[in-house]
Subunit: 277 residues, 2 copies
C-alpha cells in the first residue's frame, strides 16, 4: 500500500513515461537539453518534500523542500509546476478524503509563511513565467527570496499569490478553481483500461485539445498556444498523434503546464481511485 | 545532494531506462507481462527499505522491507536481485567509504536474524531460483518464512546462505566476492562520457559478454547462458546490439542477473564517484 507521498512520486514517473506526449519529454523522446533521466532524478529528489507534505509540514515549506531536491540534476526545471499541484493534493490526501472541497480548504489555510517559502523556491531553479501585470502589489516571483520582505509587508498568503496569477498560469488556476482539471484528468485516467502510462498520455492529449497551454502561451505567445490546442484536436481526430509529437519537438514547443496537470491527475487516480499498476 | 538511499532508488530507475539492454525491459522495450511502469512502481516502493538500510537498520530487515514495497505492483519480481545487491551497498555507504573491504565487513557482520528476514522476503514475490544441491543443510529459499525455524536451528547467517548459492547465482557471488563485478561496472560507468542511461546500457552489455548470466542459466540452462554470452560479444564487436536486443526478447531470454549487477554498478558510480545526471 503506497503512501500519498509515494503515489505522488510514482505519478511524476508515470507522467514522464507516458508516450506520445507531444512536445514533452516522454519514454520515446528527449529534448535537446532536457532528457528522460533528468525527470527520473527530479522524481527521486522530490521525495523528501513530498513526504514532508504528507507529514503535515506546511505546504510552502514542503514545496520548497521538494523543489530543492528536484533541482539536483543538470536538466534544469523538470517538475516545478507538477510539484506545485502535487504538494497540496498530498497534504489533502493525508488529512482525509481527496476531493475538491478538501483541497480548497488546504488552499484557503495557506499563510504568508507559505507564500514566502514559495518565493524562496524560485532561488533553486530557473522557471519560465510571464511578466506580472503593471498594477499588481504581488511581487514578481522571479525575485525569489529577495521578494520575501515585500510579500510579508503586503501580508500575502500563498492563496493570494496564486489568485494573482490564475488568469495567465493554469497551475495557479488549479489552486483557485479547486483543482478542477486535475480531478477531471483523474476521472479520465481511472475510467480507461490498459497500461497506466498510455492512459496518462491519452489524457494529456485530451487536456491539450481543450485549453491553450499556458506555458506555451508564455514562451511562444497566446496565438501559438491556441493553435497548438487546435492541432491537438486534429491529431486526436485523425489519429496522427506521433506525427504531432514529432512536429512539436521539432518546433521547440513544450506544453509543460498540460503535463503538470496530467501528473496531478495521475496522482489523484492512484490515490483516490486506487488504480493498479 | 542525494542520500545513499536516494542514489539507490535513482540507480534502479537509470538501470531500467538504459537502452538497449538485450532481453530486459528498458526505455524502448516491454516484456509480455512485465512492463516499464512495473519497474517504476518497484523503485518507488523500494524507497522505505532503502532508507531503512541507510538508517542503520539490519540488512535483512531493510531488504525484506524493500521487497515488500517493490512487490506492490502487478508485474511480479522486478528488482529482487538488484535490491539484494543495493541494500548492503547502501549500508556500507552510510557507514563510511564505499569499497570492497567495507562491504565485505557488512557481509561478515550479518546474523541469523538477517538470514531469517531474507527467507521471509520470499513470501512477498515469486523469485526464480535453482534447486539447491541435494547435500546442503541450507533450506530452499522458496520455502520462505516456513524455513525460518530451520535457518535458526542451523545457525545460518545471511553470509552463510549467500555462500551456499554463490556457485550458481551471481548475485550471491557478489556478496561473497566483495561485490567485485558491481565495482568493476561502476568503474566503467564512471569512466565513460554521455548520458548515464547509455553508459549503464553499454556496461550491461559488457558484463553480459564476460560471464554467463545465472538467471538465464536457471531458466534456460547453462548451455543457453553461455551461448548468450558469446552472442553478446559478437553483438558488441559488430555493433548489432539493437538486433540482439530484439532477438532475446523474441526468444524470451531475460538476463536479469546482469541487470542487477548493472544497477548496483550505477549506484556505486552515483554514490562513490559522484557522476552527474
Amino acid at each position: 500500500m503506497r503512501t500519498p507521498a509515494e503515489n505522488a512520486q510514482l505519478a511524476l514517473l508515470l507522467e514522464v513515461a507516458g508516450t506520445p506526449k507531444p512536445g514533452n519529454v516522454d519514454r520515446r523522446r528527449d529534448l535537446p537539453d532536457l532528457r528522460f533521466e533528468h525527470f527520473l532524478a527530479g522524481s527521486v529528489g522530490a521525495g523528501p518534500g513530498l513526504r514532508a507534505a504528507s507529514d503535515g509540514r506546511p505546504v510552502g515549506d514542503a514545496f520548497e523542500t521538494a523543489v530543492v531536491g528536484m533541482a539536483d540534476q543538470s536538466g534544469g526545471n523538470t517538475q516545478f509546476g507538477a510539484l506545485l499541484l502535487l504538494v497540496p493534493l498530498v497534504a489533502t490526501a493525508t488529512e482525509g478524503k481527496l476531493m475538491g472541497d478538501a483541497v480548497r480548504s488546504v488552499v484557503e489555510d495557506t499563510t504568508v509563511e507559505d507564500a514566502a517559502d514559495f518565493y524562496r523556491a524560485f532561488d533553486h531553479v530557473a522557471v519560465t513565467v510571464d511578466d506580472p501585470p503593471a498594477d499588481t502589489d504581488v511581487p514578481d516571483v522571479r525575485r525569489g527570496s529577495d521578494a520575501v520582505a515585500d510579500v510579508e509587508t503586503a501580508g500575502l498568503t500563498l492563496q493570494d499569490v496564486m489568485a494573482a496569477a490564475a488568469d495567465r498560469d493554469d497551475v495557479a488556476r488549479e489552486w483557485i478553481e479547486g483543482f478542477e482539471r486535475s480531478f477531471a484528468a483523474a476521472d479520465r485516467i481511472a475510467a480507461r483500461a490498459g497500461p497506466v502510462p498510455d492512459r496518462v498520455a491519452e489524457t494529456f492529449l485530451w487536456l491539450l485539445s481543450r485549453r491553450p497551454d499556458t506555458h506555451v502561451a508564455t514562451t511562444h505567445g497566446e496565438r501559438v498556444a491556441r493553435r497548438v490546442m487546435v492541432r491537438a484536436q486534429s491529431a486526436r481526430d485523425r489519429g496522427h498523434v506521433e506525427e504531432f509529437a514529432d512536429a512539436l519537438v521539432e518546433e521547440g514547443i513544450n506544453p509543460g503546464t498540460t503535463a503538470d496537470v496530467a501528473a496531478a491527475g495521475c496522482f489523484v487516480a492512484l490515490e483516490r481511485d486506487g488504480i493498479e499498476i
